[in-house]
């Protein structure tokens, strides 16, 4: 069961709205390496994960990603409030506005709606953890690219925090992979799937 905590993980306080910046950052909400995919990926991988420690990591990182969906959404909301129609047109935000007004809809910067195809749940310990390691790196690159494209210090501060979390999560998934390998067959880690093939798994 989930219980909502009425706080952001890290403060979001943007003084100047800017729809052009919002158009770029929206990719980290609903793009291919965005937070919505991350949260769903880890929380859905938990059920077939046979190692308690790894399930703990998937749970806790997945829950934090739910908080990041909220943080990125807060950024998008604050960047798009109090805009005039002229400002919306000038920023090229009209193509989003026509469908969603200033609602926060998960899509990529290029306008592709969020798709669960971005989320891999293979039900195989090593396939899933390798996917997670790659996903954290891809999200880190996206945040790096966002930092190359924007310059508002209020926004950059939040983006830097989120970028840092991708690195920490990458390290924790590295722990998870090591735990899984320690419990596997050192002659051939990938010769069987400990999430399905019961034999050979060490306690």
């Amino acid at each position: 069961m989930f219980l909502y905590e009425r706080k952001l993980q890290y403060p979001v306080k943007i003084k100047t709205p800017n729809a052009q910046t919002a158009k770029i950052i929206i990719s980290q909400l609903g793009g291919p390496d965005g937070e919505m995919g991350a949260a769903n990926r880890y929380l859905q991988q938990r059920y077939s994960m046979p190692y308690r420690e790894v399930t703990g990591i998937l749970t806790d990182v997945g829950v934090e990603e739910l908080g990041h969906i909220e943080m990125v959404s807060a950024v998008l909301h604050q960047l798009t409030r109090n805009l005039s129609i002229d400002e919306i047109k000038r920023a090229g935000f009209d193509t989003y506005f026509v469908d969603h007004t200033t609602g926060v809809y998960p899509q990529s910067a290029a306008g592709v709606p969020f798709d669960m195809k971005y989320v891999g749940v293979k039900g195989d310990v090593f396939a899933d953890l390798s996917e997670d390691l790659a996903a954290e790196q891809k999200a880190r690159v996206t945040y790096d690219n966002i930092l190359r494209l924007i310059d508002d210090p209020d926004v950059c501060d939040v983006i830097r925090f989120l970028r840092e979390r991708e690195l920490v999560h990458y390290q924790r998934f590295g722990d998870a992979l090591r735990i899984a390998q320690d419990k596997g067959d050192e002659q051939n880690f990938y010769g069987y799937n400990p999430a399905f093939d019961k034999k050979k798994t060490r306690k």
């Binding site: 069961m1 219980l3 938990r46 059920y47 308690r52 420690e53 399930t55 703990g56 749970t59 806790d60």
Partner: protein, 97 residues
């Protein structure tokens, strides 16, 4: 830790009280001035908090903020809630809400 009958009963108590709290919350969201509902909420929230404190002291954490051990991170010790084992003794208790 293997689930036993009293663990299952303590969990049932939390589920019962937390459900009442949540049901009251959904209603109160739309009726924030309803004092009768507020009293119902307060009564069950107190019982929920008590049930959680009792459970965590005896069986382990309900949330990452509920670990009470100084020598082990017990968050990863107990079965995860979706790992129902039909051979478990708690399954035979047949408790109803």
């Amino acid at each position: 830790m293997k689930q036993d009958m009293s663990e299952s009963r303590a969990m049932r108590e939390i589920q019962k009280e937390a459900f009442a709290v949540y049901e009251a919350a959904l209603y109160l969201d739309g009726h924030p001035d309803d004092r009768r509902a507020l009293r119902y909420y307060a009564e069950h929230e107190a019982r929920r908090a008590e049930a959680v404190a009792h459970y965590e002291k005896k069986y382990g954490p309900m949330t990452v903020c509920g670990v009470r051990s100084a020598d082990r991170w017990t968050w990863v010790d107990d079965p995860w809630p979706w790992e129902y084992d039909s051979t478990d003794v708690s399954a035979l208790s047949g408790q109803k809400l």
